[in-house]
């Protein structure tokens, strides 16, 4: 190991700061375990931060890791990363749970008969080398990996003259192929969403999957924010089903599955005065018109024509082609059609860039198909699988499992058991990316370094795949000029380094500190002309395998991606941003469709396609076309881990094993299905009570037209119910003064420690609902930061989910039958820290009260558990520990616990604390620095830190210059239920801004 790591010697055992606090007192003597050799970087009780790269998905966002006593306890977005620019998604946060996943292998596993025994690394590597020399015919099936690792694998495979297969379950192959065909570009186009004034997504779920969800999420938020000129970008979603991305659209065109190409071309035809603008695709363009498109898509011709006109006029605009969820038999063509649309609208080089290629998910499914046939034919001696789980992520129809078992010797680099590793003869558990060196190239001009932030978790004797390959090569007598992967990688970068920009060591250190460096690659001139297709393309609606009357839409789950994230209880319990369902799978079906078939929500139905069938409960969703049903990937694991196994169903069981041509991507939209009730029912494990606001001022919106005179609009409509009250002589609640800071300390509280509280800050938060996309990153971030337990499917069904953040999704307007306005309100509901908190006076023991700093504090150890506070909380943000949930957390997953936050025990109420531990931490630091004042923005709660949309701002609202005061001074500011209850919350919301008029009350 390099000294780079040795200096970070590892705390042998937990305990210096009484690692994770619990309320339950233990009686046998507690041991204090000092370091043997103290690492100078670590001060007990003080967090150490490291920069690295998230290895969760192909986006490879920049990451900051907070370590305490040598344990990684929290991951956060790295604002300095050129691509992700801060923020982190739920999956990224959950990678911590994969690091401490108790189901990881405890060492290299060697198959003996039908069982695996643990061996030593030397033994394992010898065995691998021996097998390679003996049987030969090496096939290396590798998932996404960094450039250095990729090079190493290439060299390794070359040295043993084997074959390498690149495979990633969810890949944007059609998009990349389209880019290659039309512009000869390598990699994916990069989008400048923020600057688009009209954004069209043809079924592209860019804030959930795709090249860079976090960056795209941020872009979407910036685009849809109202700018100084009082205008905001408009987002139109065209697709059969509303994904999380779709829910953020201003308009929804519920077009028929597979009709994207037709619509895009139809629009292009309108825009391009003469078809010639489409260059080699001119004749294609001539073939299409709004009429044709309307016919294909099932939406009105006028709406398409009108959209096309806007797309041309409101430039710069941007259109994005179908993503993984829309990989049908003509997906590449569809993407090309969209590129043509962008082209004729003149967006290329403005909002779409083909020069700074985004290196995204690589693998083409087609390669896997050939691999399968090769294995089936017995042409493969040693099959090595790295970073992929084809046994799960390929449709059962592909016959991978059978073929794989044909290989003479099967090797897996999986760090924890998965369906593929279960078949392997040799398992070489890889390091988690937080334990290992690596690099990434999220964009062709960006190199980011992934450095280990801690010693490997001692429970697991893992070794980084790179080191294993190098060690094996030594056995094989090959030399790649390095003995450790770290050296190999460093050498690579040294070669790549051009010394004109300064010496390597400095830039290396810089890269390590900031996480990434941007190289000016002297970008090749942007290809501006469309090139003639070198393959046959069909822009027609794709053919579907006839299995029934409903089209099956299979899409990656926002929580589990393609299923590689499924073994994380955080993600399992994270309510799906669309359905708000946890743990299990569900079939999305339109209400009308369900009614026709006499199906009610919660009915378990049998979904049958020509390729297989699954049984899954139905969830009624107005956001899907009546002729389609949708099923998310990621469920139905059989051999992955304690949390993934048996949870939900695997949607791929219904899909054909077929690749889209020419891109070779796996088809996700390929078949129709029949849906028949089984007669059984189940309770849906959802956190949703009602998706209707019932005319309550919870998530109001304001029409763009009303901006500038919202107050009047309020007066006309907002207080309608109060006028009604006055009419009947009812009691009129005190309307709270606008967003501004309320008087604090409150009347009567000027006493004792509260006397000086006007010198103290008043902590407050502002949440911009116009930016919030409901991606739910904050939920997981909060859970990770505050030791919030997960409770399991049963408990969620009983209504006992514990998350401190509940993202409420209110559906105001959603019509799957025709193109039109879409209005969905996302509202992150956390403790509102009311100045007049209803929960406080009812507590018999002062377990909850108001601090002089205006925080509604919950003193866990004082709580007796009467639950009156929760009853009296109008926002229902208080959650109760019904059992000793945290006692069930297995070693070493409890290593992730935040030592600064008390672990709550059985019978205690808890809720959002505004990340009190972070406030105290900053206060302590400020005090150490000769009592300096705390700077604005120095205290950042977990939710704000992780929010890709930057919708959350926290600070001292008594300081009029603080960011929060600035934001709150907006005319859009309101406080939930405040005008009804006069609770005077410290959490201020900014109304969502809609293009359409808002009906009465400003909030329905």
């Amino acid at each position: 190991m390099t000294d780079g790591i040795k200096r970070r010697d590892f705390l042998k055992v937990l305990g210096v700061t009484g690692a994770s606090a619990t309320l339950t007192g233990c009686s046998e003597p507690e041991r204090l375990l000092p370091y043997v050799v103290a690492p100078e970087e670590i001060t007990p009780g003080v967090a150490t931060w490291y920069t690295t790269v998230c290895g969760g998905c192909s986006a490879q966002c920049g990451m900051w890791v907070r370590t305490r006593e040598g344990r990684a306890v929290k991951v956060e977005g790295n604002p300095n990363h050129p691509v992700s620019r801060g923020g982190l998604c739920s999956k990224g946060h959950a990678t911590l749970q994969h690091l401490y996943n108790p189901d990881r292998f405890h060492g290299p596993m060697i198959r003996e008969g039908d069982r695996l025994r643990q061996g030593t690394w030397d033994e394992a590597e010898q065995l691998l080398a021996a097998q390679i020399t003996a049987t030969g015919n090496v096939m290396f099936i590798g998932g996404r990996m960094g450039p250095s690792m990729s090079n190493l694998v290439d060299e390794f495979v070359a040295a043993v003259n084997g074959t390498r297969i690149e495979y990633d379950a969810v890949s944007d192959a059609p998009l990349r192929e389209a880019a290659r065909i039309t512009y000869g570009a390598t990699g994916l186009p990069s989008y400048d969403i923020a600057n688009a004034r009209l954004l069209l997504s043809f079924g592209n779920d860019f804030i959930e999957t795709g090249s860079s969800p976090v960056a795209h999420n941020k872009g979407l938020a910036q685009m849809s924010a109202v700018d100084a000129a009082g205008s905001k970008g408009r987002f139109v979603y065209l697709g059969p089903r509303l994904s999380t991305t779709g829910l953020n659209a201003d308009e929804w065109y519920p077009i028929r599955p597979g009709s994207e190409a037709a619509v895009a071309l139809g629009m292009a035809a309108v825009i391009a005065d003469d078809a010639g603008a489409a260059g080699p695709y001119a004749d294609v363009l001539r073939a299409y018109s709004p009429a044709v498109a309307a016919q294909a898509a099932g939406v009105s011709e006028d709406s398409i024509r009108e959209l096309a006109e806007r797309f041309a006029s409101e430039s710069p605009t941007l259109a994005m082609g179908p993503g993984v969820g829309g990989h049908h038999r003509n997906a590449t063509a569809a993407n090309i059609a969209v590129m043509i649309l962008n082209h004729v609208a003149g967006n290329v080089g403005r909002t779409v860039h083909y020069d700074a290629a985004v290196s995204a998910a690589t693998g083409a499914y087609a390669e896997m198909e050939s691999a399968v046939s090769a294995m089936a034919a017995g042409q493969v001696g040693v099959a090595i699988v790295h970073g992929a789980n084809p046994a799960y992520s390929m449709p059962a129809a592909s016959g991978f499992v059978e073929a794989f078992s044909q290989a003479a010797f099967k090797v897996s680099f999986a760090s924890a058991m998965d369906e593929t590793a279960a078949l392997a003869d040799l398992i070489l558990p890889d390091r988690h990316f937080l334990e290992a060196w690596g690099d990434s190239m999220p964009r062709s001009d960006v190199v980011a370094l992934q450095q280990p932030v801690m010693q490997p978790v001692p429970h697991f004797d893992s070794k980084s795949a790179g080191d294993v390959l190098l060690a094996t090569s030594v056995h094989l007598g090959n030399d790649f000029g390095a003995t450790t992967f770290y050296d190999f990688m460093r050498n690579g970068h040294m070669e790549m380094h051009d010394d004109s920009v300064g010496d390597f060591e400095t830039s290396w250190r810089l890269a390590l500190r900031t996480g990434a460096v941007e190289h000016d690659m002297g970008t090749t001139a942007a290809p501006s002309q469309l090139q003639a297709p070198d393959v046959a393309l069909s822009f027609d609606a794709p053919a579907l395998d006839l299995g029934g009357d409903l089209t099956l839409l299979v899409h990656p789950s926002p929580r589990f991606g393609g299923g590689e994230f499924s073994n994380s209880p955080w993600l399992q319990e994270l309510p799906d941003p669309v359905s708000k369902i946890t743990w299990h799978s569900w079939l999305e079906m339109n209400g009308t469709t369900a009614e026709e078939r006499g199906i009610r929500e919660g009915d378990i139905v049998r979904v049958t396609s020509p390729h297989g069938e699954v049984e899954v409960p139905v969830w009624i969703y107005p956001g899907i076309r009546e002729d389609a049903v949708a099923l998310a990937m990621g469920g139905g694991h059989t051999n992955m881990g304690r949390w993934a196994n048996g949870s939900g169903v695997n949607a791929l069981a219904l899909l054909p094993s077929e690749s889209e041509q020419p891109s070779g991507a796996m088809l996700t939209l390929a078949t129709s299905v029949t849906v028949t009730p089984t007669g059984e029912r189940r309770r849906i494990a959802t956190i949703e009570g009602s998706s209707d606001q019932h005319d309550r001022p919870i998530a109001p919106a304001v029409a763009l037209a009303d901006l500038g005179h919202v107050e009047e609009a309020e007066h006309d409509e907002g207080h309608a119910e109060f006028q009604e009250l006055q009419g009947v002589g009812g009691f009129v609640p005190v309307p709270s003064e606008g967003g501004a800071a309320t008087a604090f300390p409150l009347e009567g509280s000027r006493h004792g420690p509260y006397a000086e509280s006007h010198d103290l800050p008043r902590w407050a938060m502002a949440i911009d609902l116009d930016k919030c996309t409901g991606c739910s990153a904050c939920v997981t971030a909060c859970q990770a930061e505050n030791n919030v337990p997960w409770v399991g499917e049963e408990q969620v069904m009983m209504g006992r989910d514990m998350n401190w953040v509940r993202i409420e999704r209110y559906i105001e307007h959603m019509d799957a039958t025709q193109a039109g306005d879409l209005d969905v309100r996302m509202l992150p509901m956390i403790c509102q820290h009311c100045a007049n908190a209803p929960c406080e006076p009812v507590c018999p023991v002062f377990a909850t009260y108001h601090t002089p700093e205006g925080v509604n504090a919950q003193i866990y150890n004082r709580c007796v558990g009467t639950r009156y506070c929760a009853n009296n909380c109008p926002y229902k943000v208080r959650v109760f520990n019904w059992y000793r949930y945290m006692d069930d957390v297995p070693e070493p997953m409890n290593w992730q616990w935040n030592p600064d936050v008390t672990i709550r025990t059985n019978g205690v109420m808890e809720k959002c604390s505004f990340c009190m531990q972070r406030i105290r931490d900053v206060e302590n630091r400020a005090a150490l620095e000769d009592g300096r004042a705390i700077n604005d923005g120095e205290i950042v709660p977990a939710c704000e830190q992780s929010c890709p949309a930057e919708a959350i701002v926290f600070g001292n609202i008594r300081d009029e210059n603080s960011r929060v005061s600035q934001v709150v001074s907006s005319e859009r500011t309101y406080r939930v239920l405040d005008e009804l209850l006069n609770t005077q919350p410290a959490v201020h919301y900014l109304r969502k801004v809609t293009f359409h008029e808002i009906a009465s009350g400003g909030h329905d």
Partner: protein
Amino acid sequence: MSNATKDPIVRGALAHPDVTRLDDVNRDVLKVLATPGKGWWALFSLASLGLVVFFTSWGWQLYRGIGVTGLNSPVGWGVYITTFVFWVGIAHSGTLISAILFLFRAPWRQAIYRAAEAMTVFAVMTAGLFPLIHVGRLWHAYWLIPYPNSRFLWPNFKSPLVWDVFAITTYFTVSATFFYLGTIPDIAAARDRATGLRKKLYQVISMGWRGTDQQWHHFGKAYIFLAALATPLVLSVHSVVSWDFAVSIVPGWHTTIFAPYFVAGAIYSGVAMVITLVVPIRKVFGLEAYLTTKHFDAMAKLCLLTSMIVGYAYMSEFFMAWYSGEEIERTAFWNRLFGTYWWATWIMLTCNMFVPIMLWFKRVRYSIPALFVISIFVNIGMWFERYVIVVTSLHHEYEPFAWGIYRPSLTEMGILLGSFCWFSFWFLLFTRLLPPIAIQELKEVLPPPMRKQKEAHS
């Protein structure tokens, strides 16, 4: 306050031919304390069995955590609080009949007040358990009691739950005192008839009461003052309990009508429970001479009155919800009638408003079986009233997205059932150990033996 010249009717309808001499009363009442019959043992063992269920369920809950209930968010209160309020309600008529009717000199009180008071004491004992069963951390429940501690911490006297602690403990202490005081002379009477261990026991409990003029003198006064204190207490306690809800902001709880409404309901359920209890006692111990149809008639009328008050309260709640014009309030009450828990609401309305209409008919009021059945209906109805108030209000609150459903668990049911057994356990013991009818007060209303009259006759 005896009255030598009362005519039989005024004398609490004590006109039974067999009861002429003072010591007849001793004879009739004290025979109750004789060795129990099969029926009593059957009931007693049943109750004891129920106690096992009760404590097993509670133990299980303590072992596993409060999660064994069906409670959740948003419904943080359920069967336990419902039952708590129910028993507090039951506890009311005892002291009401005893104290208030005593002050108003209601002639029909003497025969039933002892049983009623016993019921009160045991009902409070039962009710008092429920907050303990309900809290998440029983082992910290003592923090609600203000006691000097090393943390310098005190309870929050602004919290209705602390008011409860004071109200319930006070009510228990005062009712118990009142009950005990009234029994002293009768225990003495029992003592003078008993032998052996029982005699010693009674001697101790009766504190060596002799019935001297001095004792009677202070006794009478003390009794009046206690009654005078107990009366406002009765009215206050259930008001305080009602404020547990009314002080909150939960739609369906936050109502000014709650205090009177709860007090009326309490008396209603209490009187019903007295009927339920007294009917079997009367039968089993053959006390027809003392518990005459006139008593039942009077109690039935009280039921009828309170049922009308309660019914009025229901109606006005619905009306106000509509009249307020506040959407949230309206939804809450609409949901009560036609929402998920419609059945509970309709059970409540039927049992508490419609069934008692029969009490308008004299024939019903004078038919003891009919009263018995009706009283049971009322008991059920009143339990559901509390269930409706607690659960339906909570499960649909302000935040529609957080609406939820509550399904009571088996454990909760076990504890609910057990609470009735716990109550019956004590009550059965009472019928064995203490004179269930106030001997000395019955004597007060008997015509005192007069030599002159006798001579006049002879």
